[in-house]
Amino acid sequence: MQVQLNGEPHEFTTVPPTLANLIASLGFTGKRIAVERNGDIVPKSQYQVTQLNEHDRLEVIVAVGGG
């Protein structure tokens, strides 16, 4: 399945295609991130039950150094 991940096409094969599994494939399970799917924030509690669809637009957000 292909989604848009942080503006880039991203192919993934995790089954089932939940947001939790996608995050696991990135190595970010339990890390401090925020996720937006098609413009809406997905709360952490919903990662397991959020099924991804072809062409979903996902933004994975972290805290970085800034002033």
Binding site: R32, I33, E36, K44, V64, G66, G67
Partner: protein, 267 residues
């Protein structure tokens, strides 16, 4: 008595007390180790962070939040790089989710990439939405007392006018405007942006600011860790001088420090 006053002096932000009145950013350091050492040396308890896309190409590396233990630092997510109210509100909603319902935030809406001067109409608009949504908003703004008052009336919990342009190190260009804002505000006023060296931080505090927020002055010093410590003492010195109350200025009238009586004349 004044000594006691200084010992018990606390900065109160969103109902929480802080010993340090220096707030620091975490950008522009060589690496996270230098960031950590500089933040530690500064004594800061409130630390700003930016909200960005995860860099998928970078692979697995240390995350900023790993070096900033939440029990030690209050994180202040910012909206740096946002040029509209809509972008700023979105960024802070993401920050709230990222930091587990954290509502203390730094709002900045920029108007121009050359000067990074705030876009005040958009800042006011964003502040209104954020306050309604339950955020506790510390707001970067121009040093215009009228708009500072508008932000306070909206419900911002701290007013943070620029001393000079972000990252410029030009110091306090308009202390008189800062004084106007300080005199009218019932919430803490902090200098945000423009500090270049420790004396700028001291001067901000002598004017009566509740605190100073800086990043570049520390991160871009030749020795950031040493400058971080200098800033810590600069803020403390300025705060103590403010609490102590400076002597009046006497423009045309010298006053000897030594007794004028009992001078032994030449025999």
């Amino acid at each position: 008595m004044v000594k006691d006053k200084a010992a018990e002096d606390r900065l109160v932000i969103a109902g929480r007390e802080y010993r340090s009145r220096l707030l620091v950013g975490t950008g522009k350091y060589r690496d996270y180790d230098e960031t950590r050492r500089a933040v530690e040396a500064s004594g800061a308890e409130i630390v700003t962070v930016a909200i960005r896309r995860l860099d998928l190409k970078a692979g697995e590396h240390q995350q900023l939040l790993d070096i900033l233990p939440p029990d030690r630092y209050t994180l202040l997510p910012n909206t740096a790089g946002c040029y509209s109210a809509e972008e700023a509100v979105r960024t802070l909603r993401l920050a709230r989710e990222l930091l587990d319902d954290h509502t203390l935030v730094k709002l900045e809406v920029l108007g121009d990439s050359q000067t990074l001067f705030p876009n005040m109409p958009e800042t006011l608009k964003a502040a209104e939405t954020l306050v309604k949504e339950g955020f506790q908003v510390m707001v970067y703004c121009s040093d215009d007392p009228i708009q500072a008052k508008m932000l306070e009336d909206i419900g911002c919990i701290a007013i943070m006018p620029l001393a000079s342009l972000i990252g410029s190190g030009m110091g306090i260009l308009n202390p008189w405007n800062l004084r106007l804002i300080l005199d009218q505000s019932k919430v803490p006023v902090l200098v945000d942006a423009g500090v270049g060296t420790a004396s700028d931080a001291t001067l901000s505090m002598e004017l009566g600011c509740a605190g100073v927020l800086m990043n570049t002055a520390i991160a871009k010093a030749d020795n950031p860790v040493l400058m971080a410590e200098a800033m810590k003492w600069g803020v403390i010195a300025g705060r103590q001088a403010y609490l102590a109350g400076r002597m009046p200025r006497r423009y045309y009238d010298a006053q000897p420090s030594s007794p004028t009586q009992g001078i032994s004349p030449l025999l």
